[in-house]
C-alpha cells in the first residue's frame, strides 16, 4: 500500500507493515466484525419468542 502524504507514510506504514502481530490482530478483528455486524437472523428472534411463549404458557398452566 502506498501513501501519498508524508504523514500517512510515517504512521500508516510503520504500524501496518513492520509489525506482523498488529497486522494479524487487525485481520482477525476485521474477519470477526464482518460477522458480528450482520443483523441477527430472524430465526433466532423467532426462536427466543417461541421459547418465551412456551415458558409463559407452562407457567400459567402450573398456576391453575
Amino acid at each position: 500500500m502506498k501513501y501519498k502524504s508524508g504523514a500517512g507514510r510515517a504512521t500508516g506504514t510503520t504500524l501496518w507493515t513492520e509489525d506482523p502481530n498488529a497486522q494479524i490482530a487487525a485481520k482477525l478483528k476485521a474477519l470477526y466484525q464482518s460477522v458480528q455486524e450482520e443483523a441477527i437472523p430472524s430465526r433466532f428472534l423467532d426462536l427466543l419468542e417461541k421459547l418465551d411463549a412456551a415458558e409463559q404458557q407452562s407457567a400459567l398452566q402450573g398456576r391453575e
Binding site: N21, A25, L28, K29, Y32, E37, F44, D52
Partner: protein
C-alpha cells in the same frame, strides 16, 4: 421474576452478534455456525436458572457454545475432526461471505490452526476476553491459553509470510518467530 426473565432474554440478544461471530470463526460456515448458535440458545434457555444475572452473560454463552461444539464433534467423530480441509474447500463456494480477498486468505490461514489454538486466538484477539476469561471458557490453565495464543500467532505469521511460495508450507516446524504484541 418477569423482569428478570426479560433481562435474561435481552442480555442474550445483545450477546448474539458476538456469539455468531465466534461460531463462524470456529467453524467457517454460516449454516453450521448458525445451527450451533441455535443449539446454544436452546441449551442456555434450559439452563437459565444456573445463570446469575449481573455476571458475564457473553462468557457464559461462549462456554456453552464451545462445549456444545466439542460434544457434537465427539459424536460425529472423524467427519468433523477432518474439518480443516473440508471447511476451507467449502469457502471457495462462498466467496461473497467475506469482503476482501485479503480476509479470505486470512480465514484460510486461520482454519489451518489446530482447534485449541484457533479458539484461543479468537477469544483473546477478537472477542475481547482477557486471558483469564478465555482460560475459564476453555476450561484450562491461564498459562495454557497464553501459550496457545502465542503459538497461534506465530503460526499465522509463518503461514501468511510463506503463502504463495509453497502453499502454506510445512507446519509449526518452521522457524519460530518472536512475537511481541501478545506477550502479557
Amino acid at each position: 421474576m418477569t423482569s428478570e426473565k426479560n433481562d435474561f432474554k435481552r442480555e442474550m440478544l445483545s450477546a448474539l452478534p458476538s456469539l455468531r461471530a465466534f461460531a463462524m470463526s470456529l467453524i467457517g460456515r454460516h449454516d453450521r455456525a448458525d445451527d450451533l448458535v441455535q443449539d446454544t440458545i436452546m441449551k442456555a434457555w434450559a439452563k437459565q436458572d444456573h445463570f446469575e444475572m449481573g455476571t458475564n452473560m457473553k462468557a457464559w454463552l461462549f462456554t456453552i457454545l464451545r462445549n456444545e461444539l466439542y460434544s457434537q464433534m465427539r459424536k460425529r467423530g472423524r467427519e468433523v475432526q477432518d474439518s480443516d480441509g473440508h471447511f476451507t474447500e467449502s469457502l471457495a463456494h462462498h466467496p461473497e461471505q467475506y469482503g476482501s480477498l485479503d480476509l479470505q486468505d486470512f480465514r484460510k490461514a486461520l482454519e489451518t490452526l489446530p482447534p485449541d489454538q484457533r479458539e484461543a486466538i479468537i477469544l483473546v484477539g477478537a472477542s475481547g476476553f482477557s486471558y483469564e476469561e478465555a482460560a475459564t471458557i476453555c476450561g484450562c490453565a491461564l498459562g495454557t491459553i497464553k501459550s496457545r495464543v502465542n503459538r497461534a500467532r506465530q503460526r499465522l505469521q509463518d503461514i501468511l509470510q510463506v503463502k504463495g511460495e509453497n502453499d502454506y508450507g510445512p507446519d509449526e516446524t518452521s522457524a519460530p518467530i518472536t512475537s511481541r504484541a501478545f506477550v502479557s
